[in-house]
Symmetry: C2
Subunit: 418 residues, 2 copies
Amino acid sequence: MDINSYVDNVCLLARESSREISCITQTQKDSILNDLVNEIKKNREDIKSENKIDIEALKKSENFAESFIDRLLLNDLRIDAMIDSIVEIIAIDDPVGDIKELKTMPSGIKVGKMSMPLGVIAMIYESRPNVTIDASALSIKSGNSIILRGGSESIRTNIVLEKCVKKALQENNVNTNAVQLINKVDRKIVNELLVRNDSIDIVIPRGGKNLIKLVDEISSIPVLKHLDGICHVYIHEDADINKALEISVNSKTQRTGVCNAMETLIVDTNISEKFLPLLEEKLVEKKVELRGCSKTKKIINSVKDATQEDWETEYLDSILSIIIVEDLSGAINHISTYGSGHTDVIVTENDQVANSFLRNVDSSSVMHNASSRFADGFEYGLGAEIGISTNKLHARGPVGIEGLTNEKYIVIGDGNIR
Amino acid sequence: MDINSYVDNVCLLARESSREISCITQTQKDSILNDLVNEIKKNREDIKSENKIDIEALKKSENFAESFIDRLLLNDLRIDAMIDSIVEIIAIDDPVGDIKELKTMPSGIKVGKMSMPLGVIAMIYESRPNVTIDASALSIKSGNSIILRGGSESIRTNIVLEKCVKKALQENNVNTNAVQLINKVDRKIVNELLVRNDSIDIVIPRGGKNLIKLVDEISSIPVLKHLDGICHVYIHEDADINKALEISVNSKTQRTGVCNAMETLIVDTNISEKFLPLLEEKLVEKKVELRGCSKTKKIINSVKDATQEDWETEYLDSILSIIIVEDLSGAINHISTYGSGHTDVIVTENDQVANSFLRNVDSSSVMHNASSRFADGFEYGLGAEIGISTNKLHARGPVGIEGLTNEKYIVIGDGNIR
């Protein structure tokens, strides 16, 4: 079959199955997910042995790097984590199908809203095979049909995981095409999928920035994405010094390679001489490289020159850039100019200033006196997350089941006419 | 200035002004809108005389048609209607800036949401000059910056209307670039605007299907749109005959050239012999042309053959296609196959069947025992509407101020770290 016909067929099956899975009840969905947990448990040895074959193949390839192996590896601990994630998704209330906010209008009609699945999701991801299970479970719970395209290096692992999902769908008499893994490795398939805006409602890329950029450029379908996480923590002059230190250290160092880690620290000039030496001590201890503006360099020593490029860079590493500003509006201006709209934090005991920051910073998450590391679906009570969005339309911030649905209007009359 | 630099400049001014207007209070917004009402009243004669010049020019052009004149005309009645529309928008509560749904999470952080303006809107429309005022007022109230591109035939009218808006902004010391009218008529400007996805957050085309299709094809920015309104009314076997007749007649004939008018009637076979002759009588009286399936033709006489093409056509005219189905699932299948996801209605006294229809039909508005003509922002209590969306993402159905905003996450802690 040529690529065009192959993708035609995948899209057709997705669209057909989407109608069916959009209508099943929460009980059916949870029964599928419970069966999925059992299938994974039953096939644990198979999953590990197929994963071993993927890893051996990767080791022999040119692209081999230890970090790739780590991403690809599924051991018992990680399989248990996949199961835990499904159990979490089972615990979430189904957002689909209830009539909400029903109000009577002057004409006599009642108008309300009902959440509905988006339809068909295409998930394009790199090597982590747990995405296959996470995305399938979120998609089933939200009533969507999903097309999965994982990395070629994890193909055998993904095939056995897909089998578990399809078995669970089948046991509940639900069309197994609600979850389809692209099991051909040809890269042209992705390009072909990304222009099927008649069949696919949303594309979710998950992986490095290059993957996301590529998907976004090619796609004629809306892409749920964030490109950068250039997150700021702003220490206002009325900050509590201890909170400021704890939040700064945690935002930068709790994990450095993640999108919600702080990349730039903004400090009010009035608190900088008191705060920066204390922070320097803690961050040097944690081996964080500091890069600062000229004013910062006058206050602390172990700091290199920060250039324009630093303000625009997501380090994803143990590096922090520091800028001193005059006041709140200086901080907001820096964030508006260089931020990526992901997550920005203010530390202050002054509620009026905090409220002004919360109102005027237009990022997907804006925080007061909390670590930027909290920007996460699980921490926000969404259960698992399918991704983080810095889009201005549809879902912003961590996206869980609700972001995979949208609301239609429901009108109830008693023979009303205009 | 070449087109590229011209559009660069418009986009830059829009982005700058968007930061400012996104932060103003409801009091400021309403003061601008009140001043806009006064400006329109003050400039009433100017508006009418510029409009007369536009109309004279149109009459001399090759494209001249009476319906074009009607669309372009601004008389006192229509100017009053524009003013009423602003007054309605003033009455709407500002959705922007309040923290909603604040909940304490197990970690101790409080997580809530805040509605924010989308940023920059580009509105591409045809000759009706009232759109200039409606769109400006909705955009100001929702805190967005807007770029307006009206039809070339209404350029002089639009320029004087834009002046009124800018005067109102200026009187309130708000950056007047929050509303910018493209006053050059070069068509290439639209093509250039539609690829500025770094500067513009959403495109809203308003006009004929060809305009919308064109905008959607060129645009790399999300487009809020509906292409077709192929709306269905389904008469279930348990329908009340009088309600069924009233709703059918009203949905088809109250206005025929609008997107929420019925195009196809679906009738249960068990009620068809009783219902169709009564309906035929009423619709023939209203001079509606009937086109039916073979079963329909056996029951009523004044009906032509309906072909496949009829099920796929938005007539926007006094024509109705009729199909007889076996049951609810036959009706839902027809709607899923041929519908445009705009508005679909069931008429029945059986609530269980109605609920199944409301749940399983995935259109932007789904109705029970009400005329499809109710699918409208004003009827839904949204105040004015900027358009109707059949998109699956972001806003669905009639879109008012709320659809011009989106929610960011707000996190409030007390020094919390992960």
